[in-house]
Symmetry: C2
Subunit: 207 residues, 2 copies
């Protein structure tokens, strides 16, 4: 599993001509880094003088950021699995008409899964960004730049996941599926640029 490999090896494999890990896995890891940095700011806020009033809220944020981190880390494996499924479907025999039809069905089903994995990743990244707002506003000033890095990571991961939705959706023939997923993605992306900038400016004002 990628998460068990040393960071250096992960980077080496990312750079290599092997297709996985690729941008999908990278997006999930960057999103997980965003969630981890929210947790770091929260961990350095809980129990500190001058932050007693927000301690309850910060603990709630921490529980959520740790759940998001775990889910996003899991997305790395999901991305590899679904990529292998798509490749497997493309590799099916296509000698007879029946085989061709079965192969097409398998490819289309795999592509739908390969769309839903980055879509789920995008949804989690949007939650990371949302969670950056209260931590940037209320987290320990001494480490507030880390909340800024968290939101930037979350936003890069969100748009990266979106690219991975677009690339898979392009080859899907089921128009109602395509429209539905495009609508879902648009809804997830909506307002995230503005929110990211808002958090960044809050962080800068508290540096």
């Amino acid at each position: 599993m990628i998460k068990d490999k040393p960071v250096q090896q992960f980077l080496d494999e990312l750079a290599s001509k092997s297709s996985t890990p690729g941008g999908g896995g990278a997006a999930a890891i960057i999103g997980a880094m965003g969630a981890a940095l929210i947790s770091m700011v929260a961990n350095l806020t809980v129990g500190k003088k001058n932050y007693e009033a927000v301690e309850g809220e910060i603990k709630t944020i921490l529980a959520r950021s740790e759940a998001l981190r775990s889910q996003l880390t899991g997305m790395v494996k999901a991305d590899v699995d679904v990529f292998n499924k798509v490749m497997g479907a493309y590799g099916l025999p296509k000698d007879t008409d029946e085989q061709k039809a079965q192969r097409t069905t398998a490819i289309q089903a795999a592509l739908k899964e390969a769309t839903d994995v980055p879509l789920a990743c995008a949804k989690l990244c949007a939650e990371v960004i949302n969670l950056c707002l209260p931590i940037a506003e209320k987290g320990n000033k001494g480490v507030i730049s880390d909340a800024g890095v968290a939101v930037l990571a979350g936003y890069a991961a969100l748009r990266s996941a979106a690219l991975n939705v677009y690339i898979n959706i392009g080859a899907i023939k089921d128009e109602s599926f395509v429209q539905d997923r495009n609508r879902q993605l648009e809804k997830i992306l909506s307002g995230m640029d503005t929110l990211t900038e808002k958090v960044y400016q809050i962080v800068k004002s508290r540096l």
Copy 2:
């Protein structure tokens, strides 16, 4: 060294209340991921049919992206080292006036170093973004979404590094140093938002 630790452990330590790794190290890793993804697209372009005409240029890009990846990975350790130096300076004795003066001098020197590490990181991230343009235009269409993830990672890393410059520069008393580094940072950041969007749109148009 952080780069030798499993990805999961890196994320756990990032999320923990330990100050390192923090946003500075995260920025360097995200930048290195951007460089790695340029390398991936380049590795999957070299030697491929229909890309013979650009092969020389792609090889040059690959050499540069691999150098940037190595330098950015090295920044993770530099970030930890300089953080420890700052903490060490703050921990110096301050019982006598002479000690106080020595401590202040040591803190100011360490803060300058702690500004120059993320500034160097920002410079490398800007190079990652610049390198994304030709790879997005000329790289293998089949993996072009990875060039999009590369530019988003590079841009998030650049702005994250900038936050780490701002946070350290705020405590530096040498006004000419502050002005010089602010000027350098502004120059590095200039136009990078537009370039990132340009690359993203090129990638989307080639999906």
